[in-house]
């Protein structure tokens, strides 16, 4: 019986076992036809090998770490990204969820009869910046925590996004007064997000998982978190986009420059219902440590804030600057220099993704008369305050 081409080819590459090799060689000695085929196959393999070796890359090996850094923003980009300065008050809770974790885990002690009774009510009155370690964001922990939260959350009302013709329609749909910046004379694209609501229950197991995902098993969560519930209701809200902004739909191409992009959003402050006994500053300290603060820093920071009425906005420590500014008759938070945001768009043939670096962004956030406003954009940050002041 003659030897198959496959075996003869494997012989060339030294991929035969010793036994196989002995058998093949024995046969070749006695079979001229197989010898001819063997030579033919070996010759072709060598010629092809030489030709294909022409294709060997001559450049340095690719830098996997750099590539990984570029890939990361795309990993969880299935959903359309929202500009960072619009507070995300949905179950997806926040681009960087750590401090929002503190806000969400407003819980009651287990075992107590009150555990299921939602008695306390928070009304957000101010916003505060929480400096976050960059590594926390870079390692993708925030996404995982967000995912963890999303799994634990029960949506009771799903928000829908509606495009409306003008301010009046938006006001009617959202049942709120809609204020727009008079400084912009161009027509905005206005969308209304309908009301959404969700509930969250903390359990020992979830909190343990949270800590292990965050790599902070050294931390202890406040004992009164276990078994508790929180309910959040986000009223209908309005987003107005001016100029050329990065598109949110990843399937569509997006093209800069975005210098004239301004996004104005307004949402009546969400209600967070929980029990009054909970030590909010304790929960906040836990969240801050999770986000990378030392226990001492977290303690000092949390003492300065009234957590029952404050929305914490995480700001990457090295990537952005923030300051408190006067706006709309209250104290607002101005964030500038967030340069590391990237947008993923599919362009061209084969619709492969491309990562586009966005110019530095700014955002101004404040709460006025029970409505949380934000003005953000990619152009000149000095415009934020005049824009905010021109809201009518």
């Amino acid at each position: 019986m003659c030897i198959s081409d496959g075996i003869l080819r494997a012989k060339v590459d030294g991929e035969l076992s010793e036994t196989e090799l002995r058998q093949v060689e024995a046969h070749l000695e006695s079979c001229a036809d197989c010898r001819r085929r063997s030579a033919e196959i070996a010759g072709r393999a060598a010629r092809t090998g030489v030709l294909l070796s022409e294709l060997a890359p001559v450049s340095e090996p690719a830098d996997a770490r750099v590539a990984l850094a570029h890939l990361k923003p795309r990993l969880n980009a299935d959903r359309a990204p929202r500009p960072f300065w619009i507070p995300r008050l949905t179950p997806a809770w926040g681009a960087i969820a750590a401090v929002a974790v503190a806000a969400v885990l407003l819980i009651s002690p287990p075992g107590r009869a009150v555990a299921q009774k939602l008695l306390g009510m928070l009304r957000i009155k101010t916003v505060v910046a929480v400096p976050m370690e960059r590594e926390f964001i870079a390692e993708g922990k925030a996404e995982m925590i967000q995912q963890l939260l999303a799994d634990a959350v029960v949506k009771t009302k799903e928000s829908r996004r509606l495009t409306v013709a003008d301010r009046d329609e938006a006001a009617k749909l959202a049942s709120m007064t809609v204020r727009l910046p008079e400084l912009r004379t161009d027509t905005p694209q206005i969308t209304v997000n309908t009301e959404s609501a969700f509930q969250f229950a903390a359990s020992q197991q979830r909190l343990d998982t949270l800590l292990s995902v965050a790599g902070r098993t050294d931390l202890q969560f406040p004992a009164d978190l276990n078994g508790a519930q929180v309910a959040v209701d986000v009223p209908a809200n309005v987003v107005a986009r001016y100029g050329n902004c990065p598109v949110e739909d990843l399937r569509l191409p997006t093209h800069g420059p975005y210098d004239d992009c301004v996004v104005v959003s307004q949402v009546p402050v969400p209600t967070v219902v929980t029990t009054p006994q909970l030590d909010l500053s304790g929960v906040a300290e836990f969240g801050l440590q999770l986000a990378g603060m030392t226990a001492e820093q977290a303690h000092l920071f949390s003492q300065t804030v009234d957590w029952t009425s404050t929305l914490a906005i995480p700001v990457p420590r090295n990537a952005a600057t923030f300051e408190t500014v006067a706006v709309d008759g209250v104290q607002g938070l101005m964030i500038t220099g967030l340069a590391d945001r990237q947008v993923v768009a599919r362009v061209g043939e084969g619709s492969r993704n491309r990562v586009t670096k966005l110019p530095p962004a700014y955002g101004l956030v404040w709460v006025h008369n029970g409505v949380m406003y934000s003005v953000g954009g990619y152009g000149n940050p000095a415009l934020a305050q005049p824009l905010a002041a021109s809201l009518r």
Binding site: G6, L8, E15, L51, L52, A67, L71
Partner: protein
């Protein structure tokens, strides 16, 4: 070549409870760092374009990340990645080849090799590489794939894992692919103006 990092990765997976087909960041990172550079090299062979090769390798990882369930139960991630990336590369090569036939200018980028322009040898080498790629583009994708993977230094076992076949059939597929390649290359070399 051993896929040594997969143990790390599986550990990371079970740290998450093992019930969800999800990735821990550390696990995904380990897999990425282990395979990325070699995947780029494989695709760069096919396309000759580093930037495009990097993009395609990243796309393969993105696909992996978004798999609804574990490919091959995470037992053979390296194979899965090679299969996906080389296939994406060959698809891109074939698409580029079709474009070039319509519009010869469009091929410029594809024809670049990593070496700087210079001595005659460079020019000749580039011409040969161009013909080799043109020949690969006319093969059945699976044949172009097996040739590329083998030329990238994968063992028969690794090629088999990547192609989803038995390692005993690799020799046979390789022999056939080489015969088809030689035919295609001769055709192209004989009539140099057909594709360029």
């Amino acid at each position: 070549m051993e896929y040594a990092g997969e143990a790390t990765m599986r550990l990371g997976m079970s740290a998450l409870g093992g019930e969800r087909a999800g990735w821990s960041a550390a696990a995904f990172e380990a897999v990425f760092l282990e395979h990325y550079a070699r995947l780029v090299a494989v695709v760069q062979r096919v396309l000759g374009d580093r930037a495009q090769a990097e993009e395609i390798a990243s796309d393969a990882f993105l696909k992996l990340y978004r798999q609804p369930s574990a490919p091959d139960g995470y037992q053979n991630l390296g194979g899965w990645l090679y299969r996906t990336a080389s296939r994406l590369g060959i698809d891109a090569l074939r698409a580029g080849n079709r474009r070039r036939q319509r519009d010869p200018e469009a091929g410029e980028r594809l024809a670049e090799s990593g070496a700087a322009a210079g001595p005659l040898e460079d020019v000749l080498r580039r011409e040969r590489a161009k013909n080799v790629r043109a020949a690969l583009a006319t093969l059945k994708p699976a044949q172009a794939q097996i040739l590329t993977l083998r030329a990238s230094g994968l063992s028969y076992r690794e090629v088999a894992e990547a192609m989803g076949v038995k390692s005993t059939s690799v020799g046979q597929s390789l022999a056939r692919a080489e015969a088809a390649f030689e035919k295609a290359y001769r055709r192209i070399g004989g009539e140099p103006n057909v594709h360029f």
